[in-house]
Amino acid sequence: MTTTTDFRTPATAFTDAVRAEASKLWSLPATWLVLGGTLALTIVLSIAFGTSANIGPDQTVNILDYGVTAVTWTQCGFFLLGVIASTSEYIGGQIRTTLIAIPDRITWRLAATVALVPITFAAALLIVATSITTILLTTGVPIAEADLDVAARIIPSAAGYLTLMAVLSSALGLLIRKAIPAAAILLVYLLILSPLLQGQNWYFLPDIASYTLWFASVPDTAPPAIASWAVVLAWTLGLLIPSIIIANRRDT
């Protein structure tokens, strides 16, 4: 009798886990509904802002500031994406199958996070660039007038921030294990509390810190970029690490 032994090294096992998680995310209809809806809403809002912006030749505001305004609202889509990515495991007990396939919880969570990052980053680049393009088209400002160096700074910064927020949301979703409550917490913060706190310059909050990174005009009181990134990253890790530790300890 011959036996076959699994020769997978830890590295290939991890790659397989990432591939499995990416395949789940990729094949989840909700992923594409949320990303498609976010893109559509970004375009609609940008058109609305663009037509009401009143941009004249003596404009003092940077056109790129208008370009990313829609994303401050539609960033909700990335929070929802993160929540769905982790809570979809708990629909219909899929989590049991997942844990049989990937018994090591830490591997599982790291693989899920690694799988989430590229999809989110690519989608975020596309959505932020679309938002800016839509504003340029609706206001009729020629692309030559937009500061391309600044655009090259804000588009990847926004995409990086949105990616980290999707990771944060996915960690929160894993902690709560239910999509609607997790989404409710994030939406109430993002849509109600954060706009109200806007005037307070509380740069220790992740979104308020990030606005100093992906708006063309940076307020005078803003901390240096590296400090803002540290704030955003600290919030992300502050939820990601406890979520992995707790996932490692509990039953499902």
Partner: protein, 242 residues
């Protein structure tokens, strides 16, 4: 009556409903503290806070039916609570009515407590500058209660149709936030003033747009929207498989 008691008991025991209640109480009170300390009191003092605090009512309405359709519990194994609910109360119309009444009662109680908290806060912090507790204020406070109940039923009705609370909740909460999409729409399209939330807001705030609507008319317009939505939700709910 027993169906109603069952629905009220579900609402009272869902952890997520308590989150909605907490949001509905803490958010407007917190905002009242901030606005009382930082802005000069105007005709909408105490009321504009309630226009944002309505998110508690929205979440409650969404949770009341959304919780029936989730299959996320640890032991749910893919089944949804709605199947058990419909086994217990087979009449779809009676079930939906019981839920609507339960949501209305719970939201009305939440709204009354929230209004009491907000006005206590405003009076404590502003003293004589706070709006006087006269007949006009009470009429507007009643309008705010009606608005909260109708918004909760709006979220409820939409979630009956979608069977998933995330999108109705996201849309309605976003719309009740600091910058409302319908308000922006109303700047360019006069007809948008007759959308349910903008029309209903006339009952208790002095929101001014291009179209003037009397408080009572506004309330009736919003109620008409909600009734139409609930009839549509009822028609769909009685005809489809759970």
């Amino acid at each position: 009556m027993r169906a109603l008691r069952a629905e009220l008991s579900k609402l009272a025991t869902l952890p997520f409903v308590w989150l909605a209640v907490a949001a509905g109480l803490i958010v407007p009170t917190g905002i009242a503290v901030i606005t009382s300390l930082t802005t000069t009191p105007g005709s909408d003092t105490g009321f504009s806070e309630l226009a944002i605090g309505v998110l508690g009512a929205i979440i409650l309405g969404v949770a009341a039916i959304g919780s029936e359709y989730t299959a996320e519990g640890e032991e749910s194994a893919g089944s949804r609570q709605i199947t058990t609910t419909l086994t217990a109360v087979p009449s779809r119309v009676r079930l939906l009515l019981a839920k609507v009444i339960a949501v209305a009662i719970a939201t009305a109680v939440l709204a009354v407590v929230a209004i009491a908290l907000v006005f206590a806060t405003v009076h404590l912090l502003l003293g004589p500058d706070a709006p006087a507790l006269d007949g006009d204020t009470f009429a507007r406070a009643t309008g705010a209660v009606v608005y909260w109940v109708l918004m909760a039923l709006l979220g409820f009705g939409l979630t009956v149709l979608t069977r998933n609370g995330i999108i109705p909740m996201a849309v309605l909460v976003a719309n009740s936030s600091a910058v409302t999409v319908t308000y922006l729409l109303a700047q360019s399209i006069p007809a948008a003033n007759y959308l349910p939330d903008l029309a209903g807001m006339r009952m208790f705030t002095t929101v001014s747009t291009s179209v003037e609507i009397a408080p009572l008319t506004g309330g009736l317009v919003m109620a008409a929207w909600v009734i139409a939505l609930l009839i549509a939700a009822g028609a769909v709910f009685t005809r489809r498989d759970a």
